[in-house]
Symmetry: C2
Subunit: 344 residues, 2 copies
DNA sequence: AATGCGGGTGTAAACAGTTACAGGAGATTC
DNA sequence: GAATCTCCTGTAACTGTTTACACCCGCATT
């Protein structure tokens, strides 16, 4: 004697109405008399009925699911982003299905495939280790996509434009006055966003008549370890830079660790700059100066872009560029000519 | 002229078979002749057909979805856990739907509700701000649940038993030899796990004939800020402890920051111990000693417990207790009588 | 009295799969 | 030569909702 499942028709029978009326009540349709709706709601509460969203999306064509794909949830930049996204989503009665590619393009492909099987209403593609296969997959189905990069020129994909340049300019301006020997620890070579940052950094230096020796242009992996290793390599060289800019904060934290292990000090021996402005950087000692990327704005823009793409298709989001900016803390010496009031 | 959707019957028609055969091919049933399956697969690839998992779970009764609920993805303890869980899930062709309660019992309730609507095959309840309403909700539906706490005695819920005691014992033993003035910065009072840790800590001290003055028993919030504030309060007191144990690593990091801001040093002025062993603690200077909770084991046990609960219902997981243990790094002075070889 | 209107409700056909059951075609057994 | 078995395939019922459409009823207009 299997207990019979509580579905919409059981509710309908018990409330003495049709399934249509129950459905309408559930969806807050104005086409139900308040008195009827009340009765239906009472039965629902009484039986502890929980609508089946699978069936729901099957017949309505909308899944109320959003897919989020990131490279590495272990990087504190992402949890924050996800949290914001999740709150936005649930506030609009969407659920989030989540995937971590671990920087692996093959995993990415599988993620996308699975999300399409779930018929997600949109995908926020916050990883940047792209693959042509993935792009093809996405193009084939017509699911809205927002990505963090301009790399996806495919018409249909909306992209969130982050202006790394503004922050990098401020950073170089900030350092230039006290330093002329700058090093850069880049991110992994297969990440679009990492390459972009390096590119802009070099371009900005050039604009200032500076040049980075090959040996001071290192590659990390956007994790702390990469920063440690790169910095150790830097410390082994006879000639050393006086300031170091990193492709992200974790890298900078790793570099800081390597510096401290070597018995040296920041900012006395090196000025150090991160990128992202994760909360962590103001927790360590000295607190890191960094280029802030406003995560919350990214989440907001990603979400509403997707929302706009699903609802009717009208009203595209404003799509303003997201600006980055320098946050000066304690890991970088202020330019020599700054007034002493700025020192702590 | 709307383009017609590619569904299973289109595939069937094109391949000259019935939908049943396509379905069977899709699910790798041995009841299809290899030659037929091959033909079907070719058509599928040709049309770029993506099965609809909503419809799938509607008729099969299994959603291949797992829900994960945590309190605060911003706490580095969780991303790691989630990552592991996600990898396990995708390896077994499950998807993860994710929710962050933000320590709010009401959010928790909504999460659970939404997950039940999705007909998840199981819920990993990794948050501990429980509510009777939630328990009732879960009891009503018969969805498998694993929780991180013994609080849920409801027969049906599987729980993962983490033995905080073992690590705490080691920690107190470690500190006892050099210190007798211990303070504890607890977690938020509505968290079961936090209360448990405090309780066990006090019990362990008592066992050693020690006692914590009321003023040295502070409450944090399991974030860095809480640690900072608690530590500042501690620093204002005339009489100060010589060692501080914290309810989690973020709290300890906050405390460390407050100590350093006050111009004091760890471990010279205070020994400091964290809890969790997030990667971060070996990134700061000095690296924190801490009580390790093996996250990966928790994820593994959670996942396989759920898996066992869905598949047939047989073979319950081993359910061994997960042991915690002390990891000594640089933030705690070794006991006075230890030989000097241990110093760095 | 006929017509129109609109709010509230029911009927039944989708939606896209899975799967119990039936059955056909060969091969094997009696 | 019939019965049985095995392997493969098809038919159709079923999963739980949404929603287009039809309909009814009471009221206001003509």
């Amino acid at each position: 004697m299997k207990q019979q499942p509580v579905n919409i028709s059981v509710i309908a029978r018990r409330a003495g109405v049709s399934t249509a009326t129950v459905s309408r009540t559930l969806n807050g349709s104005p086409l139900v008399r308040e008195k009827t709706a009340e009765r239906v709601r009472k039965v629902i509460a009484g039986l502890g009925y929980v609508p089946n969203s699978g069936a729901r999306s099957l017949s309505s064509g909308r899944s109320n699911l959003l897919g989020v794909i990131i490279s590495d949830i272990t990087n504190p930049f992402f949890p924050d982003l996800i949290r914001r996204l999740e709150h936005l989503a649930t506030d609009h009665s969407y659920d989030l299905i989540f995937a971590d590619t671990d920087y692996d393009p093959v995993r990415l492909e599988h993620c996308v495939q699975r999300m399409m099987e779930r018929r997600v209403d949109g995908i926020a593609l916050l990883a940047s280790e792209m693959h042509q296969r993935v792009v093809d997959l996405l193009k084939r189905q017509s699911v809205p996509v927002v990505a963090l990069q301009a790399q996806l020129q495919e018409s249909r994909f909306r992209t969130i434009h982050v202006d790394y340049g503004s922050g990098i300019r401020e950073a170089v301006d900030h350092l230039r006055l006290g330093h002329s020997d700058l090093a850069f620890i880049a991110g992994p070579g297969n990440l679009w966003t990492a390459n972009r940052r390096r590119e802009l950094f070099l371009k900005e230096l050039e604009r200032n008549g500076l040049k980075v020796p090959r040996a001071w242009l290192l590659e990390g992996d956007h994790r702390a370890d990469g920063g440690v290793h790169a910095m150790r390599k830097l410390l082994q060289q006879k000639r050393r830079p006086t300031a170091i800019l990193c492709s992200n904060d974790l890298t900078a934290l790793g570099a800081l660790k390597a510096i401290q292990e070597a018995g040296l000090q920041v900012p006395h021996d090196f000025s150090l700059l991160g990128f992202d402005d994760i909360d962590l950087v103001s927790l360590v000692h000295p607190r890191l100066s960094t280029i802030r990327i406003p995560r919350s704005e990214i989440a907001t823009q990603a979400f509403f872009t997707l929302l706009a793409a699903t609802r009717d298709g009208l009203m595209a989001a404003p799509q303003t560029a997201i600006m980055t900016s320098l946050i000066v803390r304690d890991s970088s010496t202020p330019p020599r000519d700054s007034n002493s009031a700025k020192r702590r």
